[in-house]
Amino acid sequence: MNHRDKPTTEFAQSISLARPGTSGLDRRDFLKILGGGLLICFTHTSSWAQESGRAFGGHELPKELGAWLHIAADGQVKVFTGKVEVGQNIRTSLAQLVAEELRVPFDAITMVMGDTDLTPWDMGTFGSRTTPTMGLQLRTMAAAARQMLLEVAAGRWHVAPASLTAADGKVTDPQNARSLAYGELSRGEKLVKTVSSEESLTAATEWKIAGTAVPKAEGRDFVTGKHKYPSDISLPEMMFGAVLRPDGFNATLASLDTGSAEKLPGVKVVRDGDFIGLVAPDAFIAQHALAAIQARWDVPAQPSNQGLFAYLKDTPESGRDDGPQHVSGSVAQAMPDADLKLEEQYTVAYIAHAPLEPRAAVAEWTDGKLTVWTGTQRPFGVRDELMQAFHLPSAQVRVIQPDMGSGYGGKHTGEAAIEAARLAKAAGKPVKVVWTRSEEFNWAYLRPAGLIEIKAGARRDGTLVAWEHHNYNSGPAAIGTPYNVANQLIQYHAAKSPLRQGSYRGLASTANHFARESHMDGMAYVVGMDPLEFRMKNLTDSRLQAVFQAAAAEFAWGRLKSTPERGFGIAGGVDKGGYVATCAEVEIDPASKRLRIHRVVQAWECGAIVNPDGLRNQLTGAIVQGIGGALFERILFANGRILNPHFAQYRVPRFSDTPQIEIVLVDRKDLPSAGAGETGLVGLAPAVGNAIFAASGLRFHNMPLAPQSSVPAEPDSTFRS
């Protein structure tokens, strides 16, 4: 696999898997925009400078310091970034990195994030790119600002800049025992400097603020209810909107009667082509009016869970088969000669992100300019959607993203923003739209379902010789094996999805790791080796080896023997710069066939750690979220309808599902920091599946592994959770 193409592919996938037309750009457009692997360029300081001025999609990352940083006369520092805070604690860790390079206290920093009028253009917050790209960008700008302040002070004092030091928000002249605060130097004026050369950055071994467990920025506002999420925004004279949803996907409207709705006080129905919505003076009347609309829809027959995986395999998306992701040696020649072989099919279900805050937006039109507050991981992407929907230039649209009730990859698109803007335009007043839980389950997009077929061959001594991996529909992220196999054929096959699908925390990394690490476990059994020993035998990546060893040591892997009541499993992998190994202990009641995850040990390495407390929180959360997809989360659907669009039917992990979790952090201060929001999720499902196998001798190939109910004619698990 060409490493320069990898992030581009992930990025294109994260966008293009959304329903065509919603993002306004298809995969080809994105590849065109991105050109020669811009994303990866930002991971290397040396190439950053030369790439930063290059246009993509008409957007240039500004090289002007003033676009990123402002130092007020009182010394308060404002930092501007198009990245957004969704609970991953990036507001805190980016501020730490800036405080470190600028040499100011953490509290001097205010991050201005995700506001398209105030912050430089940004693609969006996904793919674990914020720490490696924006972190580096802001460190570079902060280092440049520090140098500039040293030069300004040197000019005022008529001394050489090299004789001065910068620390704690001040430039000091030690020889003459004098100092000037940053605010006195900047006087609140814009920092005018073009940052075109590489700045010398502080090594992680020297970090004093970065690398420490700084508590969440503005944490107090989250325990007092003061923080305003997108759905909390309120404007004077604001009306409340609601949108009529069809009875199913791909439905056509057969008849419509809005008479009773329009009789309710202050209600205005807005019809614009297929769009039927209304505004009302309050949220209560809006929902009543919506219920009073009489509409009949024709919903065509459509696929269901039954037969889904055969459908995905048999229904390629035309023009999307890019050929194998990776070929080395010849699987066709090596496989027949392998001593021991294993061939299996794995599946993953559609699952919902179900962020606790559903999609929400408040839109306001002022003198032809549209301003929208909304929850999204891509404020600039939503601005593009609004520009397209209302034929506006970028200067006439502002999108503001208040720190939101999370997204997990599920809020790349701007549905509620467009709806609120459309209704606000018709109403002539600001309008708020908040999706209901049912709307969020039905009309957002899902993590793709997928079928993965793996065929592997090994010598009797446990050396892998051939590996063939086909992924239908779920995606190419982390599809390549980290193990040494001379002969490989690895391919992603795009399919026509019957349901709307898109990005999800980790993308297909979870599915590909589930299949690969289950298969590795199966191969270890076929070969007759301990699962950890088998992996280590076929591995030379020292970073992955290190996390496997760290997790195994903490778990006491070698001393644990599985019984029918208690199974121990291990799995691991690498993606997006994060290395993970996960050990799981599963309790099984052989009589009732109920299982529960009792203990999880996860070792993690992502280069130099920026905030160990935030990192532990992310990794714990990833494990807990991973339990849902591993054990019981599954969207049930038939004929264009989601059958379980409520929390009472769609089970998500709760307190009682949560195992004892131990996180082992491997801090590599000698390596660049990578993102940690996603890959912590991928080890859990295969580790649990492998633990079930170790206890019961039964291998389950389908996520969820212990669902609430079975799907007719599809393989089912023996176990329930």
């Binding site: 944490g219 325990v223 007092t224 209810g225 999420y229 999370s406 992990p653 709760r654 307190f655």
Partner: protein, 159 residues
């Protein structure tokens, strides 16, 4: 529509609403007490939890007609003279949140639990909090926050 006088956070507040309207809708949309969150509208997630006469209650399932007579406490009412309640302080100290959207409901759920049981076991915490969803998966820290709050209260911190 009718006129109601609600007892919210120790104050009497007049509000016009339909008697069928939920307390959640009134708090958020008419009184601008947006610390109480909408998560599902069906009593399944706990994001909208408030105290009604001291007991954790899903405000999305309470109509104005029944909220009318009760003493209501929302997340905005826990802080006293700029001092966080023991449970709020414990959540902050433990960093027991990620996106924080579930936090208001969690804090009120825990406040109610610790009112009934001063020193709950882990099992009792899990049982009491099972109706609250944290989609970010911060449950282990929330359990630690409950234990910390319990200790703070035993040391005489204010509820």
């Amino acid at each position: 529509m009718g006129d109601f006088v609600l007892n919210v956070n120790g104050a009497h507040v007049s509000v016009s609403a339909s008697s069928e309207e939920t307390l959640l809708s009134v708090l958020r949309n008419r009184l601008n007490l947006t610390g109480t969150k909408y998560g599902c509208g069906e009593g399944q997630c706990g994001a909208c939890t408030v105290l009604l006469d001291g007991r954790a209650t899903r405000s999305c399932l309470v109509s104005m007609a029944s909220a009318n007579k009760a003493k209501i406490v929302t997340i905005e009412g826990l802080e006293q003279d700029g001092k966080l309640s023991a449970v709020q302080q414990a959540f902050l100290d433990e960093g027991a949140f990620q996106c924080g959207y579930c936090t208001s409901g969690m804090i009120l759920g825990v406040t109610s639990l610790l009112h009934e049981r001063h020193n709950p076991t882990e099992e009792q915490i899990v049982e009491a909090m099972e109706g609250h969803i944290c989609r970010c998966g911060t449950y282990p820290r929330i359990v630690e926050a409950v234990k910390r709050a319990s200790r703070l209260l035993a040391q005489g911190a204010s509820r």
